[in-house]
Amino acid sequence: DVPLPILAMTLYGRVFEKDPPRLGQGDHTLQ
């Protein structure tokens, strides 16, 4: 139980039913 030097602690949730059919087919791309 050594105290932790935390950079980030995360609960990362994915709501699949709100996704488009395929992840890579979004209209937006990184400029």
């Binding site: 139980d1 050594v2 105290p3 932790l4 030097p5 935390i6 950079l7 980030a8 602690m9 995360t10 609960l11 990362y12 949730g13 994915r14 709501v15 699949f16 709100k18 996704d19 488009p20 395929r22 992840l23 890579g24 087919q25 979004g26 209209d27 937006h28 791309t29 990184l30």
Partner: protein, 448 residues
């Protein structure tokens, strides 16, 4: 077999020269053979150390920075595994296939399953409405050869990343699995790990025990660094994950590991050198039947039933990887905070060893569709160190931290059962199961 020894190899890929015109097939093979020379040493060493399967990275044989035309000399026609083919003993059966032959022979001669990533080409014609104008489909492809050298699995990457213009999206999703004496395996590649189809389906519907995962993953702190994210996926999905990343520090690519549902077995993260690394670990063949298999978690059970913490301090906006979060600062050495966006509220209780004046931490929340380099819906609760003491930097990447947390509890009112818990420590190291636990009511908390 109840257990098996797995290996992954983080490979510092030898890249081709960037060119706008395609090289000859001979030059392409020469480059690929240089990478295969390195992989051969790793495969032999892994086999000598008792490994029964080895995973090598995505793009690990031909590299990257291709156009549709310039990758063509690197491609081979990869048949359906149902043809029952050992390329090592029948190298000419399906035309030009020197890379498949070499991989098959490496598997056969070392009696080890070999997982690799190569490119598949499939000719098509005008009767096919979707056929590209150059008359062929090109697929980012994972292949598996069993310990006799037989091609036992072929997987066309379903969710291509935005920059993979050299490849086609497969028309339909395919599910690549293969059975071994040490459990049932599934395959997907890199960006697929964000997906329901095929990643979650392989686990929930096909009930695989282990996933082999070739990847070329660019780390993006604070949320999407390879080792923390991939290990959290294995923990949440309750399968073994054998993750082999490429190694290229200029591209922020490092972070491979062998992850079991109950524990991180071994991982590698190295931004200091340009070396590859072989990792080995023993795993349970069928983790679902294990006595210490993690219990099911209701991720919102605690958060939905607890009263929100009130605070008179103002929240503020911040950006993480193009997503606009709402943050609140952790202003004291001990405290309780709630921060909400749309349908998601995140609750945090914590105790620091001391509140340092030179480091600022914030609790952030995001509930929305990510729209850059792919679209996917996220609900995120995160406690993070801001890059500087200026609150405008909260969410920007930072590599070191000195503030220590003695106690913490983080939870959220998630509207999904797919929640991936991760803790990243100073130096981008991983907090392990010794440090934290996930309770069945959805709290991520420190072990006392």
């Amino acid at each position: 077999l109840d257990t098996f020894v797995a290996a992954v190899y983080e490979h510092a890929v030898i890249l081709p020269n960037t060119t706008k015109t395609p090289v000859s097939q001979e030059d392409a093979l020469m480059l690929m053979n240089k990478n295969l020379d390195v992989l051969e040493k790793a495969i032999k060493l892994a086999a000598e150390k008792g490994a029964q399967i080895i995973v090598t990275p995505e793009d690990g044989i031909y590299g990257w920075h291709f156009t549709r035309e310039t990758i063509y000399p690197y491609l081979e026609d990869i048949p359906d595994p149902q043809v029952n083919w050992i390329p090592c003993t029948e190298p000419d059966r399906f035309g030009y296939s020197p890379v498949q032959k070499r991989l098959s022979c490496l598997a056969r001669e070392n009696s080890i399953y070999v997982v690799a990533n190569i490119g598949d080409k499939k000719e098509c014609d005008v009767n096919d409405f979707n056929c590209p104008s150059d008359g062929r489909y090109q697929y980012n492809t994972a292949v598996v050869f069993d310990s006799k050298g037989k091609l036992v699995a072929r997987y066309h990457k379903y969710n291509l990343f935005a920059s993979e213009v050299q490849f086609n999206f497969p028309k339909d999703s395919t599910y690549a699995t293969f059975d071994t004496p040490f459990g049932k395996f599934g395959i997907f590649t890199c960006f697929d790990i964000f997906s329901y189809d095929p990643a979650v389906i392989l686990v929930d519907k096909f009930q695989v025990d282990s996933i082999v995962f070739p990847t070329a993953w660019m780390n993006t702190l604070p949320l999407l660094s390879a080792v923390p994210f991939h290990s959290s996926w294995a923990k949440a999905m309750k399968v073994n994950l054998l993750s082999a990343n490429t190694h290229n520090t200029r591209m922020q690519m490092t972070g491979s590991g062998i992850y079991a549902p109950e524990a991180v077995k071994v991982y590698y993260y190295d931004m200091e050198t340009e070396s590859g690394q072989l990792l080995l670990s023993e795993l349970k063949s069928r983790p679902r039947t294990s006595s210490n298999y993690p219990a099911a978690v209701d991720w919102s059970a605690y958060a939905k039933n607890v009263k929100s913490f009130t605070s008179d301090q103002a929240n503020f906006p911040g950006n993480i990887y193009f997503d606009e979060f709402i943050f609140t600062e952790l202003s004291k050495d001990t405290g309780n905070y709630t921060v909400c966006q749309k349908d998601l509220c995140c609750h945090l209780s914590y105790k620091m060893s001391e509140k340092r004046s030179d480091e600022v931490y914030a609790l952030g929340v995001f509930d929305g569709l990510h729209t850059v380099q792919g679209e996917y819906y996220q609900q995120i609760c995160t406690l993070l160190k801001c890059q500087t003491a200026d609150l405008k930097t909260c969410g920007e990447p930072i590599g070191s931290a000195f503030t220590k947390f003695e106690e913490f509890s983080l939870s959220g009112t998630f509207h999904t059962s797919y929640v991936f818990p991760q803790i990243v420590l100073s130096g981008t190291q991983l907090a392990t199961e010794q440090h934290f636990e996930v309770l069945s009511d959805g709290r991520l908390q420190s072990r006392s």
